[in-house]
Symmetry: C2
Subunit: 440 residues, 2 copies
């Protein structure tokens, strides 16, 4: 019998869960028209009973819609779609597994889970002729997952480069605009609720790495998990690096990169200097952006808020609508897991970048010659030497920008430079976007 | 019986048709894997036999795949998808009508047709339980149609603002960068193949108007045809306007705007001054961008090449893949026409903008007072008066920027100002983006 409405069970009623409920209520008629059938929020499950019921009341949901048990969703044959918003790998994995086995469509915003167990869950969904949607797991409201899977499906994707973590981007934007150092900006971000009390996941790049794993898996049709993504955070970035970046015509951003070449896939997250005329350079504060290059599309970019109650709810409810339309037209598993290949993942040593090197040296003749000799031996050629400052103690700060070179060579050179007697400190080594990374 | 492949008939083998064929060939294996079944180009129909056969040969298509008759697609039950790339309203309308009546899925890049007859064709598709896809009709490779229909379907869209015509944007970019006037830049664009011999459709805004009609219809779920879109071209823009725009902190762009408020829908295309910190301001040359604002997504932007063989082929083949997946999962008409409302379209007089006014006046005391008196009577308040130049003949150029006001008031004021004896010429009146149009 054809269904006359679709029922949704919401698992997790934090910020995003509340946003999803509000959107389902506020845009109810619009959603029903667009889906050709009503979408009804049927049950809210969250262990924090008191807070949940209070929030439900405040947005006009009846108390009898609350349950503390996920089984009230999983075992309820009337509920078609389970929306998982509790986050983390366990017990979300177990709950989603059970729901998929029951043939329910699952919508999730859980990047940790998709980046680590996406393959097996998509496989399970397919075995049970149902769907797992996860648009909200990457870049909040920006519709990049579905766009890669559907609208851009004609493309052989060559590269995805994105600003995928709002916390990091907010901190770097503040450092650049106000000339403050990392710890001050981190505290400010924490005060504003942009950074968590324990900011490790964001500032060390782990959050962005999960998103890179998800994007790379879809773009290259080969499963990549988050532990295969090379990661470097922003904790070592100093205000000096940001100052020099500006002087050199760059903006410092943490980017997630997924790139394919004949020798395999690169998947990495690290700070990078981006030329000021690149569209990603003007993506500031908590905004995210994803730049995609492929054939035949060429270069394209998607921009929006990467987090927050409502942008994320846009993605979650978009997935619910997609699922509802599938249910309405009696279709399931229309697009399953697209990882039908097994491609090599390149180690970071094979990545090719330009590099910014900031180092403190004895201010004596011949120092630059010693450094450039080592670089030359490692096939690193220098594009720019910046006339940097001399300190009171007679030492000097030197800034170099290299041409493109394989990272393994660069690392070897840095090790040797570090050992030179005239070099007292390597301040930082930061990758620089190459000519090929530009949108023009 | 389940089909083991999908067959495509291509109608029109110009630039885009050739691109589509190349992409179907070059990305064949990838497309087959992503669709779970092969997509086969079965027939190419174009009246220009010699050129078509020559191009087919050059890309490796056998000569027996050519036909001069569209009926070889329409009447061939083996062909599942007709791709219409001949452009223009007639006879594309008749061909598509016939194909839909046969139950074929139709993919088209034809903005003229969709903007004028989209409603009836979508209705027809639905009656025959089939689909009409038209992603390529707006903004080339940028996947905005499908994104609005599917990924952003949870949103009440408030505004769409886009740079939708590459020709116009190229000319305006050149005028700004090189300080040249319109006619010189138009000739340059024609030389480069960015503008047609008869550039009217592009430079007068008709092309962008079609795109605005299509976007507005989807965004607001109410049919708007191209003749309902207010249009103003760029032929009256002078290098002086561009110079003053720069001085005032703006960039001059032609934008397409679709906006909804309680009193109805605005749909318009005209030059507009955009603040330099707005993301649309840095969209240069032949790039397009579409900015979307809605609830819950907030503000988001999509950026890419708006025309050309390959970007457009990305959209067309994306639609073919979507259709193939539907055929593979035995689904049709999953999302039909979404214009289920009939909303009022506001006349241009109700639009609310800030305005830039450039006028030539007698350089005498009291002139500004006369002008501001008229503006004041029409409730137009002035934000900026620019100290502009004095000519050798004693007349002076005056530039004003107003605060936001309804266009009807502005027009009345301009008529009265024009009649003042001290005013010898209204050089130009150009709309200016308001504070509400910003992405921050």
């Amino acid at each position: 019998m054809a269904k006359d409405k679709v029922k949704v069970g919401l698992l997790g009623f934090g910020t995003i869960g509340g946003g999803v409920a509000k959107v389902l209520l506020q845009n109810k008629d619009l959603i029903a028209s667009r889906c050709s059938m009503p979408v009804e929020l049927a049950l809210v499950v969250d262990l924090a009973k008191e807070a949940t019921v209070a929030k439900m009341e405040s947005i006009g949901l009846p108390q009898n819609m609350y349950s503390s048990s996920v089984n009230d969703i999983i075992d309820n044959d009337d509920i078609d779609i389970m929306v998982e918003l509790i986050g983390g790998v366990h017990p979300a994995l177990e709950f989603i597994t059970d729901a998929l086995k029951k043939g329910k469509t699952v919508v999730t915003a859980n990047k940790d889970l998709i980046a680590s167990h996406g393959g097996e869950l998509l496989q399970l969904a397919s075995e049970h002729n149902t769907d797992l949607h996860f648009e909200a797991s990457v870049a909040g409201g920006i519709p990049i997952i579905h766009t890669l899977k559907e609208s851009l499906a004609a493309n052989q994707i060559q590269e995805i480069m994105g600003i995928l973590n709002g916390t990091t981007n907010y901190i770097l934007t503040q450092m650049a605009e106000k000339g403050l150092d990392f710890s001050v900006c981190l505290q400010e971000a924490q005060k504003l609720g942009y950074a968590e009390a324990n900011p490790t996941n964001d500032v060390e790049g782990f959050d962005a790495a999960r998103k890179v794993a998800i994007l790379a898996s879809i773009a290259f049709n080969s499963r990549i998990t988050d532990d295969q993504v090379y990661v470097e955070g922003i904790t070592k970035i100093s205000d000096r690096d940001i100052m020099y970046a500006k002087e050199l015509g760059y903006v410092l951003k943490t980017v997630g990169i997924a790139k394919e070449s004949e020798s395999g896939i690169e998947a990495r997250v690290h700070p990078m200097m981006i030329p000021t005329d690149h569209p990603l350079s003007s993506v500031n504060d908590v905004y995210n952006a994803v730049f995609v290059e492929g054939f035949p599309i060429g270069k394209t970019m998607f921009y929006g808020k990467g987090a927050g109650e409502f942008p994320t709810a846009s993605a979650v409810v978009g997935d619910i609508i997609m699922a509802t339309r599938d249910i309405h037209s009696n279709t399931r598993a229309r697009i399953g897991c697209t990882c039908f290949e097994h491609k090599r993942i390149k180690p970071i040593g094979e990545a090719v970048c330009k590099y910014y090197i900031r180092l403190t040296v004895t201010d004596k003749p011949g120092v630059l010659a010693q450094i450039t000799k080592i670089l030359g031996e490692q096939e690193v050629s220098i594009a720019t030497v910046l006339q940097a400052c001399t300190f009171a103690d007679g030492r000097a700060e030197l800034v170099l920008v290299t041409h493109q070179v394989a990272e393994a060579h660069m690392r070897k050179a840095i090790d040797e430079i570090k050992a030179l007697q005239c070099v007292s400190e390597i301040g930082n080594v930061i990758r620089v976007a190459g000519e090929n990374d530009n949108l023009k």
